[in-house]
Subunit: 284 residues, 2 copies
């Protein structure tokens, strides 16, 4: 496995692979890898000849009061894990390489409307603009055939699928299942922020999602009642500060009051300064 830091190098590498007739899969990450990321790599290796992993903590997708500076970084550890999962090349650019015109800013943005206006999009203004912009840049740099994203960020997957469709981007966005700890906590680089006590109480996220899914299986179709039950269960945990619980259409992320179509139950909860998200697809 090799590690490249410049756009020119990764372009050259990919061009050589393509000239040899190989297909290219991209796994965009912000590093501090966990089993969720590694499952994306395994998908990429299954579907493509070459797996490129980008590791870039993108300032554009963090709000002014968010954890850009504190976000955990450890390239050495990431490189070991990436290699063990089968990554062929890591692209790890600095902020100046990706935003040469000064301090993590850009004059050009990719804006996706509508599907960015609920869930995390409503709570993190500019977040998905930053995601859509950096993913467009990464696609233009790496020119992958396919790109692999985890469904823990379900809204991100929907936003990027919309973007790719609208802009005719020649990349297939492949959604991959959420990977969880044995006790149910969805894997996240931000889990390292949690104290022992918060870590225990954070189990309420997956527990409340399972509870809701069971009620749906038992026949519940009232989205508001489901949301209320989830809210109540989460609020029983003294350290949990609810950010949102919403049930939305899988198609366009519009809010649902009745489960009459494939739906996503998504939530965000804060423990201290740590904001965790999780979700489940509600099959009817």
């Amino acid at each position: 496995m090799i590690i490249l830091h410049t756009i020119a190098e990764v372009r050259r590498y990919v061009a050589e692979q393509r000239a040899g007739g190989k297909t290219v899969g991209l796994v965009p990450t912000m590093g501090y890898l966990h089993e969720g990321h590694l499952s994306l790599v395994r998908q990429a290796k299954e579907q493509c000849d070459v797996a490129v992993m980008s590791i870039f903590v993108n300032p554009l997708q963090f709000g002014p009061n968010e954890d850009f500076d504190a976000y955990p970084r450890d390239l050495e550890r990431d490189a070991r894990l990436a290699e063990s999962a089968g990554v062929d090349v890591i692209f790890a650019p600095g902020v100046d390489e990706m935003y040469p015109d000064g301090g993590g800013k850009s004059l050009t943005y990719v804006d996706v409307e509508a599907v960015t206006e609920t869930l995390c999009g409503a709570k993190r203004p500019g977040h998905f603009r930053g995601v859509a912009t950096v993913v467009t840049k990464l696609f233009n740099i790496v020119l992958p055939d396919r790109a692999f994203f985890g469904l823990k960020d379900a809204q991100q997957v929907v936003v990027l699928q919309q973007m790719v469709r609208d802009l005719n981007t020649p990349v297939e966005v492949v959604p991959c299942p959420i990977v969880r700890e044995p006790d149910g906590l969805a894997m996240s680089s931000r889990n390292v922020y949690l104290s022992d006590e918060e870590r225990v109480q954070a189990l309420v996220l997956s527990r409340s999602l399972r509870m809701a899914a069971e009620r749906v299986q038992a026949g519940e179709r009232d989205a508001d009642a489901l949301v209320a039950a989830v809210r109540e269960m989460i609020q029983e945990q003294p350290l949990a500060k609810l950010d949102y619980v919403q049930i939305v259409s899988m198609r366009d992320l519009s809010l649902l009051s009745t489960l009459d179509q494939p739906a996503l139950l998504a939530l965000a909860v804060k423990f201290g300064k740590t904001r965790l998200i999780d979700n489940i697809v509600l099959d009817i």
Copy 2:
């Protein structure tokens, strides 16, 4: 020369050319071709093996009170002219092919800031958003090595160069000189709107630009004085309705009060409902 109407067909065509080792040049147009467009084709043929011309009147870049419906269209005539200039393939999609999600709308936009805020950008809100979005789509569909744009739309060239730099788009934007009628009028598809009387008075655009350039050659460095002289000359024509006259930096299109760097003198003038633009680079 062949004419293709679907994205799938043009993708297949270009992929075959590329597989044969050929380079691809794109000339994006809204049709109703004139000598200006054909000069872009000749540039494309000089620099690339294959010349693709897109012909698409893009609803996204027209304002609600602009001439989208009235914009002149004649694909048969365009095809003859394009073939004579050396075009290999015309890509002429319908609105539904480019915007399948309904009526010439998109949920995803490419926004370029700063350089879109002066000149035509200030007068035509949303225009450059529409241009940047459709050009991104055309680039993603055709995947050209180079794309050729006329400097009559100088701001468009600057906006697209900024976009390509910011998004790492793997396409070189090639600016090409303005082509003029023998009497000086810059070629434009909109010139057909002009009455005989308007056509004569419209010569004031190029005449006033030449006058300003001569004053600069003679030593004038006061941008406000130059703008005032141009305005005065244009306002002598009774049918001319001035939209704007501005002198801006060639680098970032910021307004200049003194000519201390490469500058662009750009103007827009209305004759009846017809809005004409023209510009000149002021060398110092």
